[in-house]
Subunit: 199 residues, 2 copies
Amino acid sequence: MLKYALLGFLLKQPMTGYDLERWIRSSLSYFWPAQLSQVYRTLKQLEDEGLVASEIAPQESRPDRRVYSATPSGLTDFAKWITPFVTEIDAIRVPFLVRFFMSGIRSPDDIITQLRILRGLYVKHEEELAQDVSAGIEQAKSTFPHTDLEPLLWDATRRAGELMTQAWIVWIDETIARLQDYQKQRQTKADKPPSPRRK
Amino acid sequence: MLKYALLGFLLKQPMTGYDLERWIRSSLSYFWPAQLSQVYRTLKQLEDEGLVASEIAPQESRPDRRVYSATPSGLTDFAKWITPFVTEIDAIRVPFLVRFFMSGIRSPDDIITQLRILRGLYVKHEEELAQDVSAGIEQAKSTFPHTDLEPLLWDATRRAGELMTQAWIVWIDETIARLQDYQKQRQTKADKPPSPRRK
DNA sequence: ATTATCATGTAAAAGGTTACATGATTTG
DNA sequence: CAAATCATGTAACCTTTTACATGATAAT
């Protein structure tokens, strides 16, 4: 997948592995993160397959830049990948939900605390996403040649991140409420047998 | 991660790899899918680490069942894993969004068609999720010893799937609308120079 | 003075996917 | 009579993560 993300960017413009990582960071990373080391080895693989070519641009006082560009067969391969319609929903993996689901041995209080922490993280995440991606869009507009469609795709991707984040926040709030209800019920039950009585 | 999912189930009750896969399918799979082959190799790994133990239950006319159960050190390890608070948001990977983002060379019509296909898949997915997981909850209630908290966690996990699916459907509808607007504008622009005129 | 940015990579390990291999029984 | 379910696994491959390694310059 990273393979095609890189190819897609290189079709817009030749650039280095380092550049690619930064572009991804302000766009795709919210749905497909990429480590720099992974970018470098994938570029090498793409070059072995003849889908990209690189040339070295010497620099003083900095490591030389290795600038990659997509080859004609790179474009062909990319087109072959993007053309067919997807007819299955992607499996997603959310490690946090595994933990949550398996939290039966934790106290409801602990789970609520955990959810509150997570909520804070998502709020922060939402702000970062808005800023990073919006900045990315503006930079892309002034960097790449583009049709009007491309900023739309870029912004729709940002929007997807926004909607997902908001959905998580809704889920967290709902779930905290449910856990609090559960606690209240337990308490009520526990109070009844000894019959509540004031001093 | 699968490692702890398996341990978590085995702490509720001893069972086989096959059983584990089925339980996961009606619960966690929506946030952490597991192939049967992966379940088997992970169980083997857990056994090597002494976190689970297995014994063979002979059967006639069917392969013998290898029943796994969590060991005391399995419980310790699981508790150590579940206890600490998570303080970072999980990266998620959504292959479809990578394609979408890179669809600049496709026609808006194609992208809309693709989104409509996806919408149908999500609607179906939502129904399956509701049924599978609800059935799973009922079965879990009658199979595992449990506190009242556990059905709550199970159902909250179902709800997370529901909210995510709904968020995707909203996103798809929004995005189709945006693409249609984009098409209308292009058409208007194209119509202007010859100046629109009626018969 | 320290941190962030620019800029390159390598190597080992972990985790997951896909394909292969087998075979009886139950359900539609 | 065909397909799904029960039930076990192995092997090769692919992708990603984490850790290591280097080093100058610009910004705070």
